[in-house]
């Protein structure tokens, strides 16, 4: 005998009205990031601490990467915890506060103004993530909160709140000297808490659930995922503590080894899931998302070179720039390309066609966006990505501008497809 579901209806997922604003904001941020990349190409031939680079980094990290992750996770957290999202209102508040805060912060950074605009912007983003944290914790309390995927998301959110709190302190430090050292000296800590604590943790937590699900893979290894979780967090904690209390290079190297080992184990997990898949045909969106797992290794290799290179070397600044570029325009962007066109068509298909399912011909969700435009976008993306890195190494503004130009075309194509899906008529 089958036991019917009691309590919350497990088919009632998060409304598309909650999710779509995040996707739209992220898509527009991508264009802004690429245009700033073009107009600020010259800055990539100099040191890494410059107003334009600060603005680009925060458009990409917050407007593009984080807004997309926030949007997708409001849809995917219920799948991870097997429970309903606690509050749509908190999700709207997260969007509103982050949306305004990011604009203020990026505007201030671009004009190298650490006054009230940057301070208010930073605080609004912090409040947005606190709303998100409350929503995640409350949702987990009502669902299956003991699973590894949800734990990754929760820990990632806590690291992000620490990252933003430190970022806000750094902004205030420019005006009020609240820290013992200059704000610039804390940037490596601020950046890595965000990149590894937030982005890597979220990608691993959500990816470890979605990759086997999309591939219909028989492979599962929760023990391995817990090992990955502990390795990343141990690496981050060691880095944090050593940075604050005992800043020596060998401790940084140990923390890097721990995180790189975790990345290697995660890639192995993804590869085993791929090998054990039942569904042989893998669509381009999943391929690019899987490929982005390998792209995690590029910044790791860059980091090894950064360690190996003296800070006095002429190559040091270039390596730092390439390292940052590979993270935001490489790894994170590639994941977003894959996951946007793997999740958004289904969210919108659900909205437009669920009443017609089973009685009349409905389009395949993949038909909501243009496959040729998607493939062209990927082509421009890889061309722009490789050329821009070449431009940094050559310190050649023309090559940088051509690379950025290709990335602008890529961002426009990305937006064309996103808005095509939003406007698709049933």
């Amino acid at each position: 005998m089958f036991a019917p579901v009691a309590g919350v209806n497990p088919t009632k997922t998060t409304s598309h009205r909650v999710i779509i604003p995040f996707y739209v904001y992220a898509a527009l941020s991508f264009i802004v990031g690429c245009v700033l990349l073009f107009t600020s190409s010259g800055a990539f031939t100099g040191p890494h601490f410059q107003p334009q680079l600060l603005a680009i980094t925060h458009v990409m990290a917050l407007g593009w990467g984080s807004m997309m992750i926030l949007g997708a996770s409001h849809q995917l957290v219920p799948v991870l915890i097997e429970g309903k999202l606690y509050s749509n209102v908190l999700a709207y508040l997260s969007f509103g506060f982050a949306g305004v805060g990011i604009i203020l912060l990026v505007w201030a950074f671009y004009h190298f103004d650490f006054g009230w605009t940057a301070q208010v912007g930073g605080l609004l983003i912090l409040i947005a993530f606190l709303f998100y944290l409350v929503n995640i914790i409350a949702s987990m309390r009502n669902g299956n909160h003991k699973n590894v995927h949800a734990t990754f998301v929760l820990a990632g959110t806590l690291w992000m709140i620490l990252t933003i709190s430190l970022g806000v302190l750094l902004i205030f430090n420019f005006t009020f000297n609240v820290l013992s050292m200059s704000s610039v000296s804390y940037l490596p800590l601020h950046a890595h808490l965000g990149i590894i604590g937030w982005f890597l943790m979220l990608v691993m937590g959500v990816g470890s659930r979605l990759i086997p699900m999309f591939l219909i893979s028989k492979y599962s290894n929760e023990k391995r995922l817990w090992q990955v979780f502990y390795l990343v967090n141990a690496g981050l904690l060691l880095f944090y503590v050593s940075f604050i209390l005992y800043p020596v290079q060998w401790l940084y190297i140990i923390s890097t080894v721990l995180v790189v080992t975790a990345i290697a184990l995660f890639i192995q997990f993804a590869f085993k899931a791929y090998k054990a898949r039942i569904r042989k045909a893998v669509d381009p969106q999943v391929k690019i998302a899987l490929g982005s797992s390998w792209m995690m290794l590029i910044p790791a290799i860059m980091l090894a070179f950064v360690f190996a290179t003296s800070q006095l070397s002429t190559h040091f600044e270039k390596l730092v720039l390439v390292y940052g570029f590979c993270i935001f325009f490489g790894w994170i962007s590639a994941i977003i390309f894959g996951m946007t066109f793997k999740t958004l068509p289904f969210i919108l298909w659900n909205k437009k066609f669920h009443k017609k399912a089973g009685v009349s011909r409905t389009p395949n969700p993949r038909e909501l966006f243009s496959q040729p435009v998607f493939r062209t976008m990927v082509g421009f993306y890889f061309g722009g990505f490789i050329l821009f890195i070449t431009g940094i190494f050559l310190a050649n503004v023309l090559v940088l501008q051509i690379g950025a130009g290709l990335l602008i075309i890529c961002s426009v194509l990305f937006n064309l497809n996103v808005f095509r899906m939003l406007r698709f008529k049933s």
Partner: protein
């Protein structure tokens, strides 16, 4: 209480028409995917009880699939009302995919 029967002819026809309901993400019909657990016809009250599952709880496509089953059964059996009984006990697993479904996922073309 009306007698609810597993009328083999009606069940066979219902299963046949449910092949039209596709899991939009996977692209495979829900019968071969193994989502349909049981079909019962209440011929007096004119109700079809369909006990089914989803590949995962809170699946973003869950509502569409459930609506698809309701629409399909009511369209093909206009004198009946469809009543969906959703269960995750037992949960769906890959072993529930039919040999035809496995063949299709492997790139075969039985459909």
């Amino acid at each position: 209480m009306n007698e609810i029967t597993n009328n083999p002819d009606l069940c066979e026809k219902a299963l046949d028409v449910l092949h039209e309901v596709i899991d939009p993400e996977i692209g495979l019909n829900i019968v071969d995917l193994g989502l349909i657990y049981q079909l019962d016809f209440d011929t007096e009250e004119k109700v079809i009880y369909c006990t089914m599952t989803l590949t995962t709880q809170f699946c973003p496509m869950g509502e569409s699939i459930q609506d698809g089953v309701t629409n399909c059964l009511q369209f093909n059996f206009p004198e009946y009302r469809a009543d969906i009984i959703l269960t995750f006990d037992p949960p769906w697993s890959m072993e529930k995919i039919s040999p035809e479904g496995l063949d299709w996922l492997n790139g075969g073309s039985r459909f």
